[in-house]
Symmetry: C2
Subunit: 248 residues, 2 copies
DNA sequence: TATCGTCATTGATACAGATCAAGCGCGCGA
DNA sequence: TCGCGCGCTTGATCTGTATCAATGACGATA
């Protein structure tokens, strides 16, 4: 529900900072012209709901800037975040009529949107897009399952370390990995949002973050800026298998 | 690692009890001939590991009979089941080289397998298969995310009710829903397997199951056979939104 | 029929994390 | 500059589930 033509929004794929990873990476093919026709950018303020669960979805797209979250709630208010959407992540289910979860802008967000129907038509015409989508969906599935282990079996401290580790890793990949040396990033989530992601209360999140700080695993500047002096140490705290991580 | 030609294994799609839902449902197309060439059936005993995490995958396929589970373990032994594979569920990741999780036969299992490479080739040639796979993967993703809510926010009692409710529902759909009246089914999981699925200990599982029995939500015959006199009551115990359930 | 092994139940106790309750710090609008 | 609200921290206490430890039920095997 935001202005669709704000002056600072990207105009086309060349301005799109995520073209190296997301669907619009394919813009270099001859489908470019068609893609541009059905594509637009849109921005949302922190706290705004981008999509309501159950609503008819009129677009699919990628997060270009900012952080959004996929959220599921029970009647009594208990809330579980089921996905963290960082820049380059895809939103929407081609072939599905309605949204299954709320999508909420956690920070200010810029989305790269494709109108759904023409996007699906193009998908039918262009096999590599369907394959790319399958690949991305499998990635999401892996992420969801990794998170099931976190939610089901890890302690509060391990949960926090897991979250920090994921955010740090994502941050580095997006900024073209400057491997060694301390990593730094800003937490894009409030303590409450972290709690909803981790299946904890915000008090426990606060206590464990400060415990990790006391123990020298992380350093905090203010309440949101995190420095990780030794990523391996953090990964160890997260209980991750210490095989270095990356596969293939 | 089991005989591939046991006399009781299905021979082709006409014998395959799940053709209405899984990939081989497409056998009716002119791809049938090619599919038959690359397809075979295989059986596993309860407890056998069908695929080891990290192994090269040589096939994809569907569960035809029995129950298998996708499992992830930490170094110290903590274990989380990340997927429950019931008949008609698909196993394997087209486009991925190695398996991400252990696949373990929980009961005796019959799989309908396709050799991976030719299956992938066929996928490239046959767009509707890629689309069917995307659809199935999206279903799995939804299931995984629903389970994240269970793991992150539900109480032990709600977790048990959720699991029973899922199994009951699946059982009915497969057996062509005889809607009303008490539902009955056998638990295909030990208490320990349930615990690993729910992020609990086996003692807690045992206590909560018996609590549900005491409260009349379910009835137990022996240790494994469950009768659900009132499914809505069970769904309520699971904390599910009481909108009847099905979408679309 | 005795014995063993696996799966499940049940009880006593410990503890991680939830809950309840202040209070702090900082940005923002008046 | 003052208050006000929101995000966060910190403390005290409570509780749901884990943990530890027997015991029971049943099927398989000899």
């Amino acid at each position: 529900m935001q202005n669709m033509t704000a002056p600072d929004l990207p105009r086309n794929c060349d301005d799109c900072p995520i073209r190296h990873r997301a669907v619009c990476a394919r813009c270099e093919t001859d489908e470019l012209a068609r893609l541009e026709e059905i594509k637009y950018y849109r921005s949302y303020e922190a706290g705004q709901t981008i999509v309501w669960s159950g609503d008819r979805m009129e677009f699919v797209g990628s997060v270009v800037k900012g952080v959004a979250s996929l959220t599921q709630a029970m009647e009594d208010g208990r809330t579980q975040m089921v996905g963290l959407l960082l820049p380059s992540d895809f939103v929407g289910r081609p072939g599905r009529e309605t949204a299954a979860y709320d999508v909420v802008a956690t920070t200010g967000v810029v989305m790269c949107c494709f109108r759904k129907k023409p996007f699906e038509d193009m998908m039918l015409r262009t096999p590599h897009i369907a394959q790319r989508l399958l690949e991305m969906t499998l990635d999401e599935l892996d992420a969801a399952r990794e998170w099931m282990l976190v939610l089901g079996r890890k302690t509060a401290r391990e949960k926090i370390a897991s979250l920090l580790s994921i955010i740090a890793r994502r941050d580095v990949t997006l900024n073209l990995g400057k491997a060694a040396g301390p990593m730094e990033f800003d937490l894009p989530l409030t303590r409450e949002a972290m709690a909803d992601y981790l299946g904890l209360t915000l008090e426990t999140v606060s206590r464990q973050i400060n415990a990790l700080k006391r123990d020298g695993v992380i350093d905090l500047t203010g309440k949101r800026h995190v420095t990780v002096p030794d990523f391996d140490r953090l990964a160890e705290e997260a209980g991750d298998d210490s095989d270095g991580g990356m596969l293939s």
